[in-house]
């Protein structure tokens, strides 16, 4: 019991004193996962919107692929990104393995299907006749897509939050392609793994509290979005 209480006490001190190591790790986590989510937002939302609004042969198959992608195991992504970026791999010449860039790539690959799948569902949930109503109001196709995205803005925000939540908390890919290098590629999850294995529970707990806080904030927004009513 002491070990937990002592750990919590230490964690609290580290947090309120803005311990530079904890702050640095947190900041890098936010930067890497934020950038990855931002990239996934563009790819995920545009592909999700197109798939939601068009009909083509094999559409159901594509949707099933996207939904499978939402559960892509981070270690598998980590493995393939590592292979591609390995010195004599196809993109080895870029020399970005064990850099934050490699982590952003891996996390973007994890987040994109999540954002895509939720965007797709969000756009499909709008009433079917809504499109006819928008066209009847004289909208061009581009205006229609803009209005539909605006209508689905909160579920789309949920997509972004879910994507971000997925990558900020994953550890497998980050440790494989980032390498957990201090002050360079060490993020909340990889640091927690390392500190725990070393028995430094205080700092591990401080990092975990930050992760939990982020998870709570994300779910707060998701809950708000889910509980909301649509207009008639």
């Amino acid at each position: 019991m002491d070990i937990i209480l002592e750990g919590l006490r230490q964690a609290f001190i580290l947090l309120v004193t803005f311990d530079p190591e904890v702050i640095g790790i947190t900041w890098l986590s936010l930067k890497v996962s934020g950038t990855a989510t931002f990239i996934s937002l563009f790819i995920g939302m545009s592909v999700g919107t197109v798939v939601a609004l068009t009909q083509f042969p094999g559409r159901k198959f594509v949707v099933s692929l996207i939904n499978t992608g939402m559960a892509l195991p981070p270690v598998v992504v980590g493995l393939f990104v590592t292979i591609f970026l390995w010195r004599n791999g196809p993109f080895g010449f870029l020399e970005i393995l064990y850099t934050p860039t490699a982590m952003i790539i891996a996390q973007a690959i994890i987040a994109t299907p999540i954002v895509m799948g939720i965007s797709l569902a969000a756009m499909q949930q709008l009433p079917k006749k809504m499109r006819l109503q928008i066209l009847a109001l004289g909208a061009t196709r581009l205006q229609m897509v803009r209005i539909l995205i605006r209508e689905a803005r909160l579920p789309l925000l949920a997509a972004v939050m879910a994507g971000f939540g997925g990558v900020i908390s994953e550890v497998g890919a980050s440790i494989m392609v980032g390498g957990n290098i201090m002050d360079y590629t060490r993020v909340l999850t990889t640091a927690t793994v390392m500190e725990t294995s070393r028995g430094n529970f205080d700092i591990a707990m401080a990092l975990s509290i930050i992760l939990l806080l982020l998870a709570y904030l994300i779910n707060l927004v998701l809950t708000y979005v889910q509980q909301r009513e649509r207009p008639r």
Binding site: L132, L135, A136, L137, G138, P231, R232
Partner: protein, 363 residues
């Protein structure tokens, strides 16, 4: 009387079935035309083809004489019309924002948009709701907002697809009254699909009765109601008694038609031996008590027994069998006056001019 919209050889085929087949149809500027018919008759599909929200499989739609999609751009055409659906389909913004949305799409904003939106909000009695979120509106308020949004763009043609079907009766009545007033003010050409014939009768200059994707009859309400072209239209517009018979005698103005052993005199055209269908609206049948003579000799008065009495609110529907089945609508007052009840003998009379004759072609 200028034609604003014309359909030529219009067909909509989806998934191998013919949903709409309209060889020709003209809509006059300023008129209100209702499309009525049962579910699946093609009303909504025809509306969507006319508004070019659905591309017709063959044929063309001419707006002010110009073929849409050829001489006239589809987008340009759509920007001159408006459509209101059964569901209000409001955007997730304020009432004001919703009413302004069509203007915004056309690049109209600022004080000009504000002036237009405010006048439409006033027109539909929702000015006090302008800052409310569309999510918090009642069904009636939402549909008023949808109508205001449609009128804000001053459409040259307004399409309405069952606009009142989801509303409760008092709300529906209030909105129909508002729309009636607004249409009288703006003289907007309107095409409305509805399955409620009373709504159609109230708002329209003309009615088109649809069945199986085709227009069975298109005419003024009084003509459709009293002179239906076939049995389907007759029954859809509320003709309760539809009888098949054979013309026995012809004079200058009237025919004697034999129906199941009874002779019925009707005003109409026909020749002896011809098969005809007689349509008798229930409002045109008067009931009285039999005058004692076993068989009354008065023309078109038939004695019979009441089979069933169905209360319909203000009226009672009385089914009589007098050699053939006949249905009459009787006010509650008259029902009590005559002490009508099931099983009782009555005399039913119909004026020869109140019976519509449909000639069966090909026989």
């Amino acid at each position: 009387m200028t034609t604003i919209l014309e359909a030529k050889n219009l067909k909509v085929i989806r998934g191998g079935s013919l949903l709409v087949d309209v060889p020709g149809m003209e809509i006059t500027e300023g008129e209100t035309l209702s499309l009525i018919g049962p579910n699946g008759a093609g009303k909504t599909t025809l509306l969507q083809a006319l508004s070019y929200l659905m591309k017709p499989s063959t044929g063309e739609v001419l707006f002010r004489g110009q073929a849409v999609g050829a001489q006239q751009g589809v987008l340009e055409y759509r920007r001159r019309l408006a459509m209101v659906f059964q569901e209000p389909l409001l955007f997730d913004t304020t009432v004001f924002g919703n009413v302004a949305s069509g203007l915004k799409i056309r690049g109209i904003g600022g004080p000009e948009a504000r002036r237009i939106v405010e006048s439409q909000l006033d027109r539909f009695g929702i000015a006090h709701l302008q800052d409310r979120s569309a999510r918090t509106l009642s069904g009636g308020e939402a549909q008023r907002t949808s109508l205001a949004r449609a009128f804000a763009i001053s459409p040259e043609i307004l399409f309405l697809d069952e606009p009142f079907a989801a509303l409760d009766p008092p709300t529906r009545e209030a909105i129909v009254a508002d729309l009636e007033r607004v249409l009288a003010e703006t003289k907007t050409t309107t095409v409305m699909a509805t399955h409620d014939r009373n709504e159609a009768l109230r708002l329209s200059a003309r009615i088109a009765v649809m069945e199986g994707g085709r227009i069975a009859q298109i005419d003024r309400p009084i003509v459709v109601m009293n002179q239906p072209v076939d049995e389907f239209v007759a029954s859809f517009v509320g003709t309760e008694t539809i009888l098949e018979g054979e013309v026995r005698g012809v004079n200058e103005t009237a025919l004697m038609v034999r129906v199941d052993g009874s002779e019925i005199e009707v005003v109409g055209k026909g020749k002896a031996g011809e098969r005809v269908v007689l349509c008798i609206r229930p409002e045109n049948v008067t009931l009285s008590l039999p005058d004692g003579n076993a068989k009354t000799s008065a023309r078109n008065t038939f004695q019979g027994r009441i089979g069933r009495i169905v209360p319909l609110g203000l009226f009672h529907k009385v089914e009589i069998s007098c050699g053939f089945p006949l249905v009459a609508y009787v006010t509650t007052h008259a029902l009590e006056d005559l002490a009508l009840q099931e099983g009782k003998e009555v005399a039913a009379s119909v004026k020869a001019t109140a019976i519509h004759v449909i000639r069966k072609s090909g026989s």
